[in-house]
Amino acid sequence: MTNAAQGSPTPPPRYLDSASSEPLHPAARETLLAALDQGYGDPRRLHRPGRNARLLLDNARAVVAEGLGVRPDEVTFTSSGTDAVHRGLLGLHRARARVGRRIVHTAVEHSAVLHAATWAGDEHEAVAVDAHGRVLVAELLTRAEGAAVVAVQAANHEVGTTQPVTEVADRLDGVPLFMDACASAGRTPLPHGWSAAAASAHKWGGPAGVGVLLVRKGVRWSSPFPHDDRVDDRSSGFENVPAALAAAASLQAVVAEREAVNARHAALVDRVRAAVARIPDTDVVGDPVDRLPHLVTFSFLYVDGEALVHALDRRGFGIASGSACTASTLEPSHVLAAMGALTHGNVRLSLGRDTTEADVDAFLEVLPGAVSDVRADVGL
């Protein structure tokens, strides 16, 4: 406001980090505001406010089930995507305690999966990926023999590469597969074959603080955490009914729009990939074809990723980096490292439903200069 009064308005930032969190979808916002007044009751109580809340929660569950192509009784709302990952992976693991304890996962799983596997306290094994970040299926299947559970993400959150979930699931001999679908759910249909899966509403324009745990009908799953006497015994804590309903409304809208949005995003990302590859000493990372439509990652030699994020922020662009430069205690991205990609000078661009062609053009216009500025600072 001050700037505007002084006649030098700061333009709104062009947000290119939807993979970290998508702005609230208009459908979610509208539903959330209405539900805040309606969904305050305890859905387990028999009075009218309780019954209203229960109705809204069941409605949210049915809508999410339809949007994700599953049954309503396979849907559990959790307090976050991370919580859904923990419950999904560890619940399958716990139910298999008598068969095996070992967790096998791809080397490029989200840290939520890796931390859960470590927390389980048992042996866990990372399976290598190829240069695009796709898991080596034969190696995974060999390691999976006798394992308690196998974790394969639907698509990678940093580089966008899709994983062969269905192929792996079809060839696993009775070992359940946990699928972290947080990066893709809502944007693309879920692959088949998983026993439990996790999704996160704020990645599809729902509110933060809503995760979705999916457990297939008939799958053995046992809660890894203390039980609670709530509506759904796979979760714990008082349900955030208004947020769950808003998440459902957003999912419904996003699924209805996604064919058009994805086609637009995929074409824009193709353009970004081609333009970025023309900048010298650049590693454009991830599968160019079998990938999420909205996300692309690249690394620039000799560039401090954090410096580049700041340089782009000053030019009005909000973009994420997977590099851990500067903070020497931080490990480099385990995803980029597993792929053999350059881990420094990395940025990840991800498009939202409101991202325009003009946003992308403006980004591509300033990027080469921002990179050379950071490189000039180090004399290269």
């Binding site: 030699l301 430069c325 500067t326 980029l336 490292a337 350059l342 290269l380």
Partner: protein, 97 residues
């Protein structure tokens, strides 16, 4: 971030410390954080003859991934990792062109 890498003249190195791969130039990037070890490598690769080996000693954890990635992108041969006399990780590169 002041460190200019200390260049070790191979003839002054204790023969016991000399790698069988005959390192022509070793860069001391122990205190440098990513991407500085790679920047030093790029600055000094021209100091060794084509076919000779340059080594970078780096304690930053990213170097383990970024030296091979740099080799792939710049067309040099990554020969592998060993240890400097003090145990710090050392990465060896053969200059190709």
């Amino acid at each position: 971030m002041t460190g200019t890498p200390e260049e070790v003249d191979p003839e002054e190195v204790d023969p016991q410390d000399v790698d069988p791969q005959d390192v022509a130039l070793e860069l001391d990037c122990r205190a440098l954080m990513c991407p500085l070890p790679i920047i030093e490598l790029a600055r000094h690769v021209g100091d060794v003859a084509v076919g000779d080996v340059i080594a970078v000693v780096a304690t930053d954890v990213a170097a383990r991934h970024d030296v091979p990635a740099w080799c792939r992108m710049r067309g040099h041969d990554f020969l592998g990792e060993d240890s400097a006399a003090d145990g710090a990780p050392r990465f060896r590169v053969r200059r190709v062109a």
